[in-house]
Symmetry: C2
Subunit: 203 residues, 2 copies
């Protein structure tokens, strides 16, 4: 059901696994340099030191490369948040929300092309799951983490978290559209807004 692998074929030998890796890196750096529209399959292959055909050996099409990149970013995001949730003592759910914001912000700075891709702005949705779009998937994961960590019924969390994620996504986009490092005032406003909204919605 879930199309967790946009790959046409899973690399089985280490050799190819490394090449797939290189293709993804090449793609990321190219997106940074020339933007999504400027990226070409030939360019990716070239920079990865690979023949175009090799790219298509593993990815069904150009978009799939970007999808794979996005998916990997999303996994890293979830994992990082998860780690912080388990390693840190958080008093209230809003500390959890702050943590999530911080992780998102640092990914903008550390992960190549993340600031241009986010979790699916450019590529089509329905990437992680063919039924729901990315934001829904992310929201569900976040809702689960918060439900577990702060012992709030998951059912009460789903809609509010979805709305909060959508709003935060929009505002953070704004925060990062002008400045590479993100406008701190806008980021803070986003936190405040989300906190205000969730405070009213959560029991």
């Amino acid at each position: 059901m879930t199309s967790t692998t946009p790959l046409r074929r899973q690399p089985v030998q280490q050799r190819s696994a490394k090449r797939v890796e290189r293709m993804l890196e090449a793609c990321a750096s190219l997106i940074e340099e020339v933007g999504y529209d400027g990226v070409t399959t030939t360019l990716i292959a070239e920079r990865a030191g690979v023949a175009v055909g090799s790219l298509y050996q593993f990815f069904p099409d150009k978009r799939a490369v970007v999808q794979a990149l996005t998916m990997r970013n999303l996994e890293k995001f979830i994992q990082t948040v998860d780690e912080r949730f388990t390693s840190t003592a958080l008093e209230h759910w809003w500390d959890g929300v702050d943590t999530i914001f911080d992780v998102y912000v640092s990914m903008h700075r550390e992960v190549p092309a993340f600031s241009k891709l986010h979790f699916g702005d450019v590529v089509d949705l329905r990437l992680l799951d063919d039924q729901r779009d990315n934001d829904a998937v992310i929201s569900e994961r976040i809702a689960e983490m918060i439900a577990t960590k702060f012992q709030i019924p998951l059912a009460d969390l789903r809609l509010p978290i979805s709305v909060a994620v959508a709003a935060a996504d929009g505002v953070l986009n704004l925060a990062f559209s002008s400045e590479q490092a993100g406008d701190q005032q806008i980021i803070d406003d986003a936190k405040t807004m989300i906190r205000g909204y969730l405070s009213a919605k959560l029991p």
Copy 2:
């Protein structure tokens, strides 16, 4: 400075004006049917009953057609909000905010392809003004209208309105991603959230 016309050439004769009109309509209906990526210049020309060359007579490229469509939608949006602002007595600024929400929602239902295009999701930003992106332009216009109508200093409004627009855009996207008509509960939540945020920011 402002590239108010993505047109390569302004139609001067009525004949061509009508054809340009037909091209835009064809484009809108095609976006509804096959999505942005499925739209082809040949398809647009065909449906508009026009040669491909004619399309390029007025539009520099495919994207420009969609941009023109988006721009027209944006103008209609601003104009409609403006009309309601002048024709209706609004008590507080949040009534103004509600009005804006309502106009946005009704455009989703009435304007072909609007729910797929919004104000620049698909096409690149920097469409209305080559310095600022669309949301910035919209925010500025909204800020001006609210400043005038409710006599609030424009300077106090700029940032909060930008943030509010970004957040609302994100949440409304969510509201319309699942249901054609828009999930009313999410729309209401968006209003509440914005009101809460702005209440804290405005004097």
